[in-house]
């Protein structure tokens, strides 16, 4: 992955944080295996993955809360492996905020300056302006237990930013907020990132959040980076089956690529195409919203007939739960009108197709999700 990133034109950009082949074990369980990652100066990078994929461990390695078993961590060109958190110019917004319960909002935000023994007047000036900026001016004397979730979030941000860190780490920053507030805070974080020009490294398990906020996303799977790229790259050109499935969800249809360049697939018709090496097992990945109803048009690659087993209304769209004759399950998300026109109801067999540019072909042998 690392070399791939370097080959790109942006590789001349300054690297702010570098993880070089780090491994970390807890007991016998491997949290990270030979992970390498470059975070560029000023970017908003999100570490995304299911729980237990090692994303939080990665963040804690950057923060200095964990020491890697092998490998090295560098921040701003300095090797900081084994350097404790208080000697790194990196600050963290913790999951559940970890505000100091015995200190007021003002004292929480002032903490880093007090530790630095900054003169009182200077410190309170900076804290006051930070509180203003966070919209917390009227909450200065409150204790954390007297604040709402959104307010605590802003105190945590203000506290981490007061020291002007070179990198801001965010550990599931929005997970404790309700859905509506989360959307607002996503935009807020993006705006703040643009204003401050800092490097943000964020951890989340929420793909929507990652897609909405990040400049780049690193998808982690079982302690390794499965793919790293812009949200669009990750979504449109997933590197493997895991990424395709984890981000956006996907149907996987096994098929065989023949030596004559055609693809055969049980129960489906596949147009000839040039693709992976001939004579091998492949997997065709189609996102639910890429399946279309009715007669195939020009450029169709897959045609299939599937029986409807359930119809789920999602509001603007409708999700069809389908099964092929051999039992393979599929889901399709379609416009309400199209579904109504097709007369879909449980038990009915529908014809579906997908365009070539919407289908991703994976090699069956390598694209599988490693069992671990």
């Amino acid at each position: 992955m690392l070399s791939k990133v370097r080959d790109k034109p942006e590789c001349t950009d300054e690297v702010q944080v570098r993880l070089d082949r780090v491994s970390k074990h807890y007991g016998n369980a491997a949290a990270l295996t030979d992970l390498s990652l470059d975070v560029r100066r000023g970017e908003f990078l999100t570490l995304l993955g299911p729980s237990g994929c090692g994303k939080t461990t990665t963040l804690r390695l950057i923060g200095g809360f964990e020491v890697p078993d092998r490998g090295a961590v560098a921040i701003g060109g300095r090797d900081v492996t084994g350097v404790p958190p208080f000697q790194r110019n990196v600050n963290t917004v913790f999951q559940n905020y970890a505000l100091f319960p015995h200190l007021t909002v003002f004292e929480n935000v002032a903490y880093a300056l007090r530790v630095k023994r900054l003169p009182g007047a200077q410190a309170s000036e900076r804290v006051t302006s930070m509180l203003d900026r966070m919209g917390l001016a009227d909450k200065a004397g409150r204790y954390p237990r007297e604040l709402s979730g959104g307010q605590m979030q802003r105190v945590a941000l203000g506290r981490a930013l007061i020291n002007e860190p070179t990198v801001l780490l965010l550990d599931e920053p929005l997970s404790a907020l309700d859905a509506k507030l989360r959307r607002t805070m996503q935009l807020e974080l993006r705006r703040m990132h643009a204003e401050l020009g800092l490097t943000f490294v964020c951890v989340t398990h929420d793909q929507e959040e990652a897609l909405a906020m990040s400049d780049r996303i690193a998808v982690l799977d079982a302690g390794r980076i499965a793919q790293i790229g812009t949200p669009q790259e990750i979504f449109d050109r997933p590197a493997n089956r895991f990424v395709a499935d984890f981000i956006g969800g996907c149907n996987f249809i096994p098929a065989i690529s023949r030596s004559d360049g055609t693809i055969i697939m049980p129960e489906c018709k596949v147009s000839p195409q040039t693709g992976p090496e001939a004579g091998r097992g492949i997997v065709l990945a189609v996102r639910p919203h890429s399946l279309r109803l009715g007669t195939p048009e020009e450029g169709a690659i897959i045609e299939l007939a599937a029986r409807v087993s359930d119809i789920v209304y999602l509001g603007t769209a409708v999700r069809l739960v389908l099964s092929l004759a051999d039992g393979l399950g599929l889901t399709a998300e379609l416009g309400k009108d199209a579904v109504e026109k097709s007369g879909a109801k449980p038990g009915v067999v529908l014809r579906l197709w997908a365009r070539a540019q919407d289908v991703i072909v994976f090699d069956a042998a390598r694209s599988g999700h490693d069992p671990h």
Partner: protein
């Protein structure tokens, strides 16, 4: 930025972690070593020595332990101590549990007040709570003078004080809060939804008590019962004040060996015996705890 060969470096052992551990734990660990482990080890060594004509002979032998098990006097004192400890444990667990349950049924300020009432006795002098029973059970105590005043008895009852009964009453009285407080803490942790679920599934309150509340409060009962058993087994205040000749317990005998009898090795052997009993009780409790985890 060039960071070649970064990962080939082996991370050093985290000395700061060890240093901090020693700084925080060191003083207390040293104190525990010198004033807990060494004294108990010393006691063990003494128990293998013997006395000859009021001087201690440093000659390894098991005579002290043989003496404990061969003499009917010591065996009966041990039996009495075990009996008293068992009676007290049972009574204190039953009454302490009922008390904790009673307090847990209340809410708000009343509950806080009752909890306060439950805790206060723990903070008052052990000696005081034992000697009160002389006032109550004695020949001229409240019960006897009360009975005489009402004209129920002509002669004061002598069965009340200076026997096993009075020791058990006083120790039960002392140890009820020792059971009630941990049980209350365990009851507090039971989510109300668990009980509602049980009732919702058709269980009666008593069935719920037996099958849900009781098992879930075992983490409170076990430590309470163990404390009560161990501390009442080795108590010397209650038997000295209220025991009389039939209520002699092992600690009085031990004290005697270090006082008038001047047989330190034998006293040490008896003390080791108490430690072994405590150890067995604790081990049994841990076994129980593990079974119900």
């Amino acid at each position: 930025m060039i960071l070649t060969e970064l990962s080939s470096r082996k991370p050093a052992i985290d000395w700061s972690w060890h240093l901090r551990l020693v700084a925080f734990l060191g003083p207390a660990a040293l104190y525990a070593l010198v004033f807990i482990l060494v004294p108990y080890a010393n006691l063990l060594i003494y128990s293998f020595w013997k006395t000859d004509n009021y001087t201690i002979v440093r000659d390894f032998n098991l005579g002290n332990f043989a003496r404990v098990f061969e003499s009917p006097v010591y065996l009966s004192v041990i039996a009495n101590s075990l009996l008293v400890a068992s009676i007290v444990t049972i009574c204190a667990v039953v009454l302490g549990y009922a008390l904790a349950l009673y307090v847990a049924f209340f809410t708000g300020m009343r509950r806080k007040f009752l909890y306060f009432l439950m805790v206060i006795p723990l903070w008052t002098s052990f000696l005081l709570r034992a000697f009160i029973w002389r006032l109550i059970l004695g020949r001229e105590g409240v019960i006897n003078s009360g009975l005489a005043w009402f004209g129920f008895t002509d002669e004061p009852l002598s069965v009340l004080l200076f026997n096993r009964f009075s020791v058990c009453v006083a120790l039960t009285y002392v140890f009820i809060p020792f059971v009630a407080i941990p049980v209350y803490a365990a009851l507090e942790k039971i989510p109300p939804a668990t009980l509602e679920a049980s009732m919702d599934l058709g269980a009666s309150p008593f069935y719920t008590l037996r099958r849900i509340i009781l098992p879930l409060s075992l983490p409170g009962i076990i430590p309470g019962a163990i404390f009560t058993f161990c501390l009442s087994f080795g108590d010397f205040v209650a038997p000295s004040l209220l025991g009389g000749p039939s209520g002699i317990m092992i600690s009085s005998v031990i004290i005697n060996q270090f006082g008038s009898a001047f047989d330190w090795p034998f006293g040490s052997a008896l003390a080791i015996f108490v430690i072994v009993v405590v150890g067995i009780a604790v081990a049994l409790a841990r076994l129980l705890e593990r079974r119900y985890e």
